[in-house]
């Protein structure tokens, strides 16, 4: 075999702490290595050209590049060797940047370690075999999970691009958090006026199949051929008959149900249509509160329904859909403000969250757009906003910035002054983060035009001025905090305190991640494939991310990522056939004893037992289904099943390469 080695300096990234020339020099002594050199940037155009030229000139059979992580540039270099006529799997990478140069400054030991890693790569390459990808058909449909603004945007973009879309939403209506907002920053545009038409488009688009009150129960398969099980929860109303007239809502006797759409600041009925612009505008019964289900009596809605749509015996439905790609757009949930006891959230009725305040500001909200204190319904004259509640706070394990609270707080302060011109608005903040188009100007407007008082400092305590719970009517809340710019303590008597709650991962996100086989970060947000270069992809091919399920995001960023994800899906499914990864399990039929252990072990059902003419059985790998994990290789008692490119021989060759050198160094 003829192997070529290239050691990359990566500018100074590697060369600063690794003697790349020495590594290349040492590599020349390794078995089968006929050429070794170092290069300033192996991934650059000249670097790749050098690799290609060397392969041709020296008739190489395999190449090792020692540079950055294979997770970064393996694909780049594989393409390069392929252009020079080699099989793309006759290539190995030694990671001497992330795993060597960047973790230690000890040049001597780094150089030794880099040499070892190159030696291992060479030994592995000696056992590499050319592999060829197989192609397979794809389903030109996409599943989108979550129908907030990101899911809606992705669905419309995909549908416009000619794909059939299956859109799944766990709530009764699409729209997500944006449908709860009154206005959006920095334009003070009406939120539902922007979103509403898009929601209608989703409802009417011939290519979009919408499943609300539905959740993904199971996802199996692989890119191009996913099979998804969707549980459609029973609304106990036949939506093909329901016209959304609302007669049932008027007559429903259980009227004390906390209204989720209005963030619990008012009540609703057991049979509801969540809001006027809901899509689909159909009624649904919440069986956990409906008297018919909890007590076994009542039946009013059935009697009053003019369309005869109410059906108490309706059952959940489980649908199976086949799709080629998945976009998750499950969004975020808000931090539970009762966890910060010092602000009195949950104890004092006049301490509310920003989203509750938003519902109050909304003309379609419970107060019809009038700001009223929850305790007595009076119009507040002093409103205090506390920023960073559950953001940038290590004491509640939320060290990250939620990115949008500064902006919505400014918006709400402006709207407060708009609604009640003689009211005062104070904002306690840590820093103002307004890095978006027109954002800083918006903050200035709040401060200068609307005279919102910004106080830089944290609030220590919120306590009632009279009575234990905010007191009788007229009782105010005292907000005590620090003004770090004045270096003084401040106390403000407030009629209403609004907590700018931060973002956290959507409830159920880790469970969904498990079903989709994607990863979460430490806070439950879905992990992207690469933070800079692949922010929309996940590590599972064919599954993409849109919106705040990946990290806290505001509306423009969510929409942008949704369109990006749609673009990725359209590009992926623009091909009629996809190539499968040939790094999969292979059975040596001669060795196989037909014990069937691999079949039972495989998580994907990619192995089946084939009967021979003599009645004995042998394992067989279904090539497109195998994901290349290699669990079966370890299970096989006779080593008859091997994972291509990661065979026992290859991995042991790496181990041996190290042990042999160690032997030499010890004995010498």
């Amino acid at each position: 075999m003829r192997i070529g080695v290239m050691v990359c300096h990566c500018g100074n990234n590697i060369a600063a702490t690794v003697d790349c020339e020495a590594v290349a020099l040492a590599a020349r002594e390794f078995p089968d290595v006929v050429f070794a050199t170092d290069h300033m940037y192996a991934c650059s155009d000249p670097g790749q050209k050098t690799i290609e030229q060397t392969i041709r000139d020296l008739k190489l059979d395999g190449v090792v590049v020692a540079s950055c992580s294979p997770r970064m540039h393996e694909v780049t270099f594989r393409r390069a060797v392929e252009r020079a006529g080699l099989n793309r799997y006759m290539f190995e990478m030694a990671n001497i940047r992330e795993h060597v140069a960047w973790i230690s400054l000890d040049r001597k030991r780094n150089t030794e370690k880099a040499t070892d890693l190159v030696r291992m790569a060479v030994e592995k390459l000696r056992y590499d075999r050319p592999l060829t990808a197989k192609s397979f058909e794809v389903h030109k449909r996409v599943l989108i999970i979550g129908a907030g603004v990101a899911g809606i945007q992705a669905a419309l973009d995909c549908a416009e691009g000619g794909l059939d879309v299956v859109l799944v939403e766990r709530r009764q209506s699409i729209g997500g958090i944006m449908s709860k907002l009154d206005k959006t920053f920095p334009t003070i545009d009406c939120s539902v006026c922007v979103l509403g038409p898009k929601m209608v488009d989703v409802g009417q688009h011939p290519r979009i199949t919408l499943h609300t009150l539905s959740e993904v129960e199971e996802l199996s398969g692989y890119v191009g051929n996913f099979e998804v099980k969707i549980r459609k929860k029973s609304p106990f109303v036949d939506w093909t008959k329901c016209t959304g007239c609302g007669a049932c809502l008027e007559k429903c006797p259980s009227k004390k149900v906390p209204d989720r759409h209005n963030e619990g600041i008012c009540t609703t009925t057991a049979i509801t249509i969540p809001f006027p612009q809901a899509i689909p505008k159909r009624a649904a019964i919440d069986p956990t509160v409906c008297l018919r289900f909890t007590k076994g009596k009542c039946g009013v809605c059935q009697k009053v329904c003019p369309a005869n749509a109410v059906d108490y015996d309706m059952q959940d439905e489980v649908l199976t859909e086949k799709v080629g790609a998945v976009i998750t757009a499950t969004g975020l949930d808000l931090f539970d403000h009762t966890k910060c006891g010092e602000y009195g959230g949950g104890r004092y009725p006049d301490v509310i969250t920003s989203l509750q305040y938003e519902r109050m500001l909304s003309a379609s909200g419970p107060t019809a757009g009038h700001i009223k204190r929850p305790s007595d319904g009076a119009e507040p004259k002093t409103v205090v906003f506390i920023a960073c509640v559950g953001s940038r706070d290590r004491s509640v394990d939320r060290p990250y910035c939620s990115t949008f609270c500064c902006m919505y707080t400014a918006k709400q302060a402006i709207l407060t002054r708009d609604h009640i011109p003689d009211a005062k608005a104070y904002v306690f903040y840590m820093d103002i983060r307004a890095c978006g188009k027109g954002y800083e100007e918006f903050i200035r407007r709040a401060q200068e035009e609307y005279d919102v008082q910004y106080i830089r400092g944290r609030v220590a305590q919120v306590y009632p001025t009279s009575g234990p719970t905010g007191g009788p009517s007229g009782g105010q809340l005292m907000v005590r905090g620090a003004d770090t710019l004045l270096g003084a303590q401040v106390e403000i008597a407030a009629d209403l305190v609004v907590l700018a709650v931060g973002a956290e991962a959507a409830h159920g996100a880790p469970e969904l991640a498990e079903k989709l086989r994607i990863s979460c970060d430490a806070y439950g947000f879905f992990l992207e494939s690469h933070p800079k270069l692949r922010p929309v992809e996940t590590n599972t091919v064919g599954i993409f991310l849109a919106g705040a399920c990946q990290a806290p995001k505001d509306i423009p960023a969510s929409v942008a990522q949704a369109s990006a994800a749609a673009g990725k899906v359209l590009a992926l499914l623009s091909k009629d056939k996809l190539e499968s990864d040939p790094q999969i399990a292979q059975v040596q039929t001669i060795r196989c004893i037909g014990c069937g252990k691999c079949e039972r072990t495989c998580p994907f059902g990619a192995i089946r037992m084939r009967e021979l003419r003599d009645g004995s059985k042998r394992a067989e790998v279904v090539e497109t289904v195998c994901q290349g994990c290699g669990i079966c290789s370890v299970t096989c008692p006779v080593r008859a099943i091997q994972l291509a490119h990661f065979t026992d021989s290859q991995l042991l060759a790496e181990v041996n390469a190290l042990c042999r050198t160690w032997d030499e160094t010890t004995e010498s």
């Binding site: 973790i103 994901q627 669990i631 026992d648």
Partner: protein, 196 residues
Amino acid sequence: MPDMGRDYRIIGFLCNWCSYGGADAAGVARFSQPTDLRIIRVPCSGRVDPMFVAKALLSGADGVLVSGCHPRDCHYTEGNLYARRRLELLRRFLPIIGIDEGRFEYVWVSASEGSRWRDMVTKFTDKIHALGPIPRMAETARTLCALEGMLGVSSAQPDMWHADETGGDLHRAAGRNAQRDALLHLDDYKEVMDGE
């Protein structure tokens, strides 16, 4: 700790999706770490055959660290659960073949946990440094190699642990070597575990 003027011999088997990414993240963040560890990339911790670990330790590695995705976060759904069963068994088994079980560890590190990876590497390396170089089983190893030479089985081939029936019989008949027998039996245990 004894400094030998060179790195200790530590091998890491890291799954491609979580831990390798975590080690990359630690590098990108420039988290300073001991240099001793040499990382071998595998698709999944479920690909790590306990035999790789045993072989590495018998061949002179001072320590072996296996790292995969956290349970329930596996790219292949349950590969790390297989790994956990197999490797836990291996850990308890190591003293039987005369290896301090502290020389082997399996951990879970996700792709976003660069700092956790640094902590794991530092802790494990410190532990190996404290244990010192692995006692050379040179004599045993040489006997084994000689035996293998006689039997015509190359030590570079994994097949040595799975010699055909004649080979296996010969091994047993010729050696009665505790380590070798133990290694052969490890596979039986493994089957029992996987069969559960």
